[in-house]
């Protein structure tokens, strides 16, 4: 029964993150929303790991944490680059190319 509560928390966090990515236009807020999604992943992994008695879940969560940090490092560098060139970090202002 306890597992469901963790999964529910994970799902709510994940949903919040997806909503943030889709509605926020500021790059830093988009990054934070993606971090929420990754936090949801970690809650899932640790909960499943703890309930099935396997360490793989916790190991996986550690890898997710580490790599997310590397990703955000690169991401903030790109945001800084854009801010220098455009004096804005709004995704709507990055519009030279038309998809």
């Amino acid at each position: 029964m306890l597992l469901n509560q963790f999964l529910l928390l994970g799902a709510v966090l994940f949903g919040t993150g997806v909503y943030g990515v889709l509605t926020r236009r500021h790059t830093v807020l988009v990054l934070m929303s993606i971090e929420l999604m990754l936090a949801a992943v970690n809650i899932n992994l640790v909960a499943f790991g703890a309930f099935s008695g396997s360490v793989a879940g916790q190991v996986f969560a550690l890898f997710v944490l580490t790599i997310a940090a590397a990703e955000v490092g690169v991401g903030l560098a790109i945001v800084l680059l854009i801010f220098r060139n455009l004096h804005s970090s709004d995704l709507d202002d990055v519009d030279v190319l038309k998809g």
């Binding site: 990054l31 899932n44 396997s54 690169v74 991401g75 455009l86 990055v94 190319l97």
Partner: protein
């Protein structure tokens, strides 16, 4: 218990990792950060990593390590060889571009090879954690590479779009993976497959599989998850675009093959109903929308971007066919179809890198990526025009070039998978092959029947490195077209 290290099996990745570190150290130690020297180190390192791949292929035994998380078999070796050769060609494409551009820095090769290392690990990954780490090792350096021209707004935009989509897709994929881990209680793909066959597929697993497939669909830029690709491809430096559209895309496909074939497929094709409808829809949409959008492009890089979306759709056709055949219980046919995906991937790599090599060579004179800038190329540089014709015709699937063989195995797998769904997919692919012919022929028409625009009618000088890249890609495109058994055998051995 200590883990067993089979150093022979690990050798390709170890050599590559050592080269990655060496390029970084060399970048900082060499005077003026001499990128030409760094490019030589990178090229030699990539070729050195090919040596153990050949000796392992000669040896032929399957080697599994770390409790089955890392496997070196024929499938892994074929793909490692592909990634290494593609990396070598990409280095050849980049040498003069980086040297003559404003960003003459050796870090370029460090980032490029780090990404290649991720691909090489991905080919051997049989575990969710290993796959995730490999996928991020592929992706993170390419975010930086896309934004490499840092004072150029267009390149910035390419970087940020690629980054946001890339990170979002990883998050979706990870959420799917966390649910799969919860279902199977293990991160090993083999155990996930066993669990699918033993316990069947609850709705939760369908959601998990769907989420992880969507994550990978972003990586391989399948429609409707392709919208980042044209912008990123146009904005990034052209050699990086070639790398993204061939190696990085192939990395995504290998991830997809791993997780589907070794995991969701189940031991006996029990799990196929979970994923083939998703792949079927992605394939049909990618082919149709990719081709229709490519028809309208005036910029050759954007045209190649949409063309690569469409080619990705063609590659998904045998994938879906494998699922259809597996669901019908025809496991031999399913294996042939999986082999067809690998064959298409190898052929696509050669012809697409070749097309980009010609675009880079021609842009040295014209400084333009418009399709109209190819006007009269046959009069000024006949060799380049003939080579571009070869690559365009091969992408369109005209015999006797390699692209024809790739299309042939693709159609064969769809038709032999049979059923209404298999035949429908073959028909959609057939109609799309015809549409695709028009935009590839558009480039040929410019080269052969138009007058050159500028005053300068001398032949375009092609540097040595670029000549090498053109020679390798043209040789593969021609030889495999005439002698397709070469790659057909690889497809058979892999599965």
């Amino acid at each position: 218990m200590n883990p067993v290290f089979d150093w022979h099996a690990l050798a390709p990745d170890v050599v590559l990792a050592a080269t990655v570190l060496l390029t970084l150290v060399a970048t900082f130690l060499l005077p003026d950060r001499d990128a030409t020297q760094v490019s030589r180190i990178a090229a030699i390192g990539v070729l050195a990593a090919l040596v153990p791949v050949v000796t392992l292929a000669n040896d032929g035994a399957d080697r599994a390590m770390f409790d089955g998380a890392y496997v070196v078999d024929n499938y892994a070796l074929a793909l490692k060889a592909f990634f290494l050769v593609a990396a070598y060609v990409t280095i050849l494409l980049s040498v003069d571009y980086i040297q003559e551009g404003d960003y003459y820095r050796g870090e370029f090769y460090f980032l490029l090879l780090t990404s290649v290392l991720g691909m090489s690990v991905m080919a051997s990954a049989r575990d969710l954690i290993t796959m995730f780490v490999a996928l991020e090792t592929i992706s993170i350096p390419t975010f930086v590479l896309a934004a490499y021209r840092k004072h150029d707004r267009v390149s910035n935009e390419a970087g940020v779009k690629y980054y946001v989509i890339g990170v979002l897709s990883s998050a979706l994929m990870l959420y799917g993976m966390s649910l799969i881990f919860g279902y199977a209680g293990s991160t090993r793909l083999a155990e996930i497959g066993a669990q699918v066959s033993a316990a069947g597929a609850p709705p939760l697993l369908a959601v998990a599989v769907f989420l992880s497939l969507v994550g990978f669909a972003f990586k391989v830029s399948a429609v409707p998850f392709h919208f980042w690709a044209p912008d990123t491809y146009e904005g990034a430096p052209t050699p990086v675009t070639a790398f993204l559209s061939v190696s990085s895309k192939a990395g995504g496909f290998v991830a997809l093959l791993n997780i589907v074939f070794f995991g969701f497929y189940g031991v006996d094709g029990a799990g196929t109903e979970l994923w083939w409808p998703v792949i079927w829809v992605l394939a049909a949409l990618s082919m149709t929308l990719g081709n229709l959008a490519a028809l309208r492009q005036t910029n050759v890089v954007r045209m190649l971007a949409y063309s690569s979306v469409a080619q990705g759709g063609f590659m998904l056709v045998p994938f879906a066919a494998a699922g259809i055949a597996g669901a019908a219980g025809d496991l031999g046919q399913a294996d042939t179809a999986f082999g067809a995906v690998v064959i298409y991937l190898l052929v696509y790599g050669a012809m697409n890198l070749g097309a980009f090599a010609v675009v880079i060579a021609a842009a040295r004179r014209t400084r333009s990526a418009e399709i109209s800038s190819f006007a009269g190329l046959f009069q000024t540089s006949p060799t380049l025009a003939v080579l571009m014709t070869v690559f365009m015709a091969s992408l369109a699937g005209i015999p006797p070039l390699a692209g024809w063989f790739a299309k042939f195995v693709m159609f064969q797998s769809a038709v032999e998978a049979g059923g209404a769904w298999g035949i429908t997919l073959a028909v959609v692919a057939g109609v799309n092959s015809v549409i695709a012919f028009f935009y590839y022929a558009g480039v040929m028409r410019q080269m052969w029947f138009k007058e050159p625009a500028g005053e300068d009618r001398s032949e375009i000088e092609v540097p040595y490195a670029l000549t090498g890249a053109l020679a390798i890609t043209a040789a593969v495109t021609l030889v495999v077209g005439v002698y397709p058994q070469l790659f057909a055998r690889v497809g058979e051995l892999a599965f």
